[in-house]
Symmetry: C2
Subunit: 212 residues, 2 copies
């Protein structure tokens, strides 16, 4: 499936009001222009992940947008998702590639120069890197220290892979993040918690494609 | 691999003092007569699971004892473990069987009559059920209410699958648990926290095979 990182929605069902709320927000966000969706439900058991991912897939497929599963390769295999996003402490990229096959989209989180330098020689083992956190964020309390715009810019320039900036990105700061020249921006609460997720996605898309 | 539930060690690396401690305790417990080992590290990220499981496998293989991975089918696939143990909220048994194939050992936790009745028609989709908790236990704070000996006896009698009793079993009460007639007993701290894990396993084996 085509990889377009422009506007990357990390869907946290706890922030979206559960299973049904997540489906509604995903639908609205896709209508608003989200180009890739990741399911991340660290507080949920896997049976609930599987149920939600299985219900999300027909929606994301309708928009020809990939659905990525955070961390759990087994959930991705079980539902036939389009790929996984893994952190530095999750199963390694080569394991993910082996289990998911050559067509899966695999993303890897990087938070410093060393992690970018380790990711660069991986070549097609991974499809993109998530660079962050840009700003401090309450969404992920175990995240490393914020990189800031300059830090993200340095890592994006250093990376040989497509990049998506993540961590505390809201409509109000998305324009600044563009200065770091990432391939795209990832948001959680900016859409999941928006009064109108469709409009929020539209505005983020517009902000993202505006000439700075 | 042959399934013998007689003395089932649930290896929690946090209780065992980490990676190296877990390997030492597993080795000693296997020398003492443990017949099956499950790795369960709910506080750990998967890269650490994979590293420990990969180092455990040569040890369990030496004793021709299966190594089972709790919950994470992807970790089991990645290291080539002998099977998985899943709870009622983990990926369903049919998914585990599909991903792991016909030779994998698959265990399912059951805590009441309904869960046993749901498990019975699964036939060879699963290999055994874990019945518990027998007693209240601090090891698993999210466990359901203790079944007691009578409760475990009723569920073991009701199950069409081989059974292993779990939850708060120590050397001091293992003799009582026998009265519930499970196929075996599972322990965590009784071995992981024992001053001499080899001796603890030997004593539990002896208690288990003693005529009541």
């Amino acid at each position: 499936m085509n990889l377009d990182l422009s506007l990357y929605l990390v869907l946290d069902p706890v922030q979206c009001g559960g299973h049904a709320g997540s489906l509604a927000i995903a639908q609205a966000a896709l209508e608003g222009g989200v180009t890739i969706v990741q399911l991340r439900a660290p507080q949920w058991h896997k049976r609930a992940w599987l149920a939600l991912a299985s219900d999300l897939l027909p929606i994301t497929r309708q928009f020809a947008v990939p659905l990525i599963i955070n961390d759990h390769i087994d959930v991705a295999l079980a539902c036939g998702a389009d790929g996984v996003h893994i952190g530095q402490k999750d199963l390694p990229p080569e394991v993910a590639r082996k289990l998911l096959g050559p067509r899966a989209l695999i993303g890897l989180s990087v938070a410093d120069e060393r992690e970018v330098d380790d990711a660069n020689p991986l070549g097609t083992m991974i499809d993109y890197v998530g660079v962050g956190p840009v700003f401090d964020t309450p969404t992920k309390p175990d995240a490393s220290a914020a990189l800031g715009i300059e830090g993200v810019a340095a890592l994006c320039a250093r990376s040989l892979h497509p990049t998506v900036a993540i961590g505390g990105i809201q409509l109000s700061n998305a324009g600044h993040v563009k200065r770091a020249k990432p391939g795209g921006i990832a948001v959680v609460s900016a859409i999941c918690k928006a009064a109108d997720p469709r409009l929020a996605a539209q505005q983020l898309r517009a902000e993202n494609s505006r000439t700075s």
